[in-house]
Each structure stands twice: as C-alpha cells, then as structure tokens.
Amino acid sequence: MSVAETESSKMIVRITDGPINIESLLTDVGDPDVGAHGWFFGVTRRKTTRGDTTKITQSLSYEAHRPMAISELEKLAAKALADFQLKHIVIVHRLGDVPVGQASVVLGCSSAHRVATFRANEWIMNTLKQDVPIWKRETYSDGSTQWVHPIESDGPTS
C-alpha cells in the first residue's frame, strides 16, 4: 500500500490479494471542500460475446508485476490529481481469483465539482488498462483457461 499526503490532497494506491472492502474506502476521499465523490467498480462479468460466440466465465484470476504495478498506479494517480484538480484519490486492485460479480478494481476520487470526477474516472481506467502491468486469466464454464492480452484491433475490452 502506498499513501502520499500533502496538506491539501491525499493519494492511496493498494494491491490486495483478497476481496476489496468497498465500504471501508468511502471515507478516504471525503473532504469538506469537495462537492463530488466519483466511484468506479470494475467487476467480473459472466458473459463474453465475440461475434456469434458467447462464453460463460466462471472466474477471473489476476496477476501483476507487483512493484511495477504499484509504481505505475502511483504515477497515474499523481497525474490525475494534478490534471483533473482532484482533492483525493484511492485506487485498489485485487489479484488472484475474482468470482463473477465481485470487484477486481475500485477507484474513488473527489473534487469540488462533479465533471472533474467523471472525466478523471474515465481517464484513470483507460490508462490503467493500457499501462499498469496487471493481467487477467479467464476460466470458462467448460474448464478452459485463457490469458487476456488485448491488442489495439480488439477494441474495448472488459
């Protein structure tokens, strides 16, 4: 876990091997000077459809280059704090097995106004999915497994 705090803002970045306790994070972005808390939860989805084929996911399993993932998350959190005029930010990513419906990533930020939090959440998730060295492996209902290594031509993924 990494916490960087200045007089006016706070940044928390964490990688965890168990379920993410979302409720315990809610106060991390609280501040009397903000008017908006923006949250995003990425959760394991059951169905993946590509073309005419739909596969049923049993679970996702995540692994990371852990020290580099922390470093990349810190970099993008610091950039988001500055670029979107955020007050506070918290990013938690889970590793290991994440069953359908449970959160693999939780992102929260706060700002004086709501638009900054909407924009920040989108930018942070897009950048996380592009640069943070974390990988997911699908285990499908038929028992087969597959690492997910999206390339640009795949278009948006989960």
Partner: protein, 81 residues
C-alpha cells in the same frame, strides 16, 4: 553478460517458468535482450511483437542500454481492471 528477465501471464505460461537468464553482449540494448529471449524460448515468439520491456519497474524502448544488475521484465499486453 547474463541478464535475468521476468516473465508474466501468457509468456510465463508458455515458457513454463517465471524468469530466465539470457546471455547478451555487454552494453546490449533492451531489444537485443528481447531477441536473445526469443532465441531461447521459441514458445513465446508469437507473443513477442506485442510485448513491451521494462527495466527496474519503468517501461523502456528497445534502444535502452541494459546493465548486468538491471531487473528486466517482459510485459505482454496488459489486461487489468
């Protein structure tokens, strides 16, 4: 010199190990390390073109010079979130 390369996800699975040492000339570039890696691990050749390289937890270009003490990582396309 010998340099150690960390492997992840499909590259780790295809190689059957989470790190491997490769022999490269002194002052080799990251790209030369990647080429040497492909030479000793034919199973990851198809994945290599889409992979990035990192040294000491920072992404680097293929021209970056590698030293023996560096920790090098082969980073397949990421899929966090």
């Amino acid at each position: 010199m010998q340099v150690k390369v960390l492997l992840f996800a499909a590259a780790k699975e295809a190689a059957g190990c989470d790190s491997i040492s490769v022999e490269v000339p002194d002052d080799a570039s990251a790209g030369e390390v990647a080429d040497a890696l492909a030479g000793v691990l034919p199973s990851i050749v198809d994945l290599m073109p889409s992979c990035r390289l990192a040294i000491d937890n920072e992404y680097v270009g293929r021209d970056t010079i590698v030293s023996a003490g560096h920790e090098i990582a082969l980073i397949p396309p990421v899929s966090g979130g």
